[in-house]
Symmetry: C2
Subunit: 295 residues, 2 copies
Amino acid sequence: MHANDGPDGVIDTLVRVARVVLEAPPVPPVAVGIAVAAQVDPATGLVVHAPNLHWQNVPLGPRVAEALGLPVQVVNDARAATIAEWRLGAGRDESDLFCLILGTGVGGSAVVGGRLVEGATSAAGEVGHLTLVSGGRPCHCPNRGCFEAYVGGWGIAERAQEAVRDPATPPSAIQSRAGSVKKITARTVFDAADDGDPLAVRLVEETERYLADGAVSVVNAFNPRRLVIGGGLVAGHPRFVAVAEQAVRSRCQPSAATASVLPARFGEEAPLIGAAVHARERTTVSPELRQSAER
Amino acid sequence: MHANDGPDGVIDTLVRVARVVLEAPPVPPVAVGIAVAAQVDPATGLVVHAPNLHWQNVPLGPRVAEALGLPVQVVNDARAATIAEWRLGAGRDESDLFCLILGTGVGGSAVVGGRLVEGATSAAGEVGHLTLVSGGRPCHCPNRGCFEAYVGGWGIAERAQEAVRDPATPPSAIQSRAGSVKKITARTVFDAADDGDPLAVRLVEETERYLADGAVSVVNAFNPRRLVIGGGLVAGHPRFVAVAEQAVRSRCQPSAATASVLPARFGEEAPLIGAAVHARERTTVSPELRQSAER
């Protein structure tokens, strides 16, 4: 399945794969959950806007529901990851939780007073677009200086590419590892830093400073009891969790600085798990079926 | 009543004034609400930390309750102002609301899904301590580059004082208006800008840029349907509301950018009104007394 296939191609593939899984499920399926990197209308299952898929107003939920004959719940991927951590992972049983997801972008979602924070258009928790550097680097969104433009995977890659292209920069292992400037990713930078490449080390240190600024902002604004940090970047650079903890402890307001900071339990599969949990919670099923599904 | 009187002096004065008011009330009082610029434990009425009063762990609620023989609810001032706007003002009947208070500091509070967002230690919504300028000006809190260090009344005053003290700055109406550098306030800067003083105009324009950055952050993070902007600074510079609206419209994520931006209905009295509404809502009263109070 590829974004270039457009909504029809993606939905066809998705339905085909789901049918294979549903043919021999371990328990009778009661609902289908879909996590998608998009602004979603949870009530209707509409994908309102998915910048990376180039989708606008695609009725993903209804189309999959019709094809599979099962109720479908569509949920934003960062929100789904938060549900996974909240229900089953590092945020289990916590009524005031923020889950910060550091991946290609920076996302997040809050649980406050035992409830998931949705917001007016289901976009609350999009802390990747907090301004961290007034007038700073352009973001993929209409703002400048966003958290994600410095700490997201694409932001790290872009900063590294610019540094390598700068004629004043001495040759760096970043470029030799990547092969070409365009192929530099956050991963290349972390690996080169592990090998002691000075430019990579500097870039990682800068990224840690921006992460610290962002973590302080998130904890001051949402006042969670627990901050859970997950996403692909944390897998590549686990020190991010300790950096965030140190910043929260020393730079947050005294009332907020007591938040515990933990790595997420789930990795790439967090959105899948959260989407499934969410779909089951939101779907009314007969007591018999639920009993059977829980055995 | 003055902060220098310490908790005992302040509480004595507060109780004396309350007794005068309670002697001849328009309706029988059922409860007392107190708004205070502090971190508060709403369950116990404890003032945990009030930086400007230099209070730590003062049992304000219980002491006033004992003296007056009435139930007392203590609430943070920005939260009280939000309650006033939400129940009776510019945020009336709105289930997803953020109220941003621009005063000496920058405070705020959110209503999400029809509920006030409290947070783990009742400090959620403290957006004055979002990092807006990574590594920027020191704040009164342990962080640097906070929203409030640029846009709060004290931040504006401090920036103006530094600019005036700089030997490279030509003489400015800011200083001549204030009499001395130490007496410069945000008000002096606004007044001098209204008179066209170039330094004051520059400072106000910079403040507007930082406010725009902060408003974008708040709306992206909390995704309110309505952003209400109040506090003493808005009275002094009403253009702040239009500046925030323009920024939200043009720089927020598409899903969040539809938020309406409105000036607060209430001025300085907002925390008082909100504290009273809050106390009434949180106090169980007999149906007869409530009926009488509502007449």
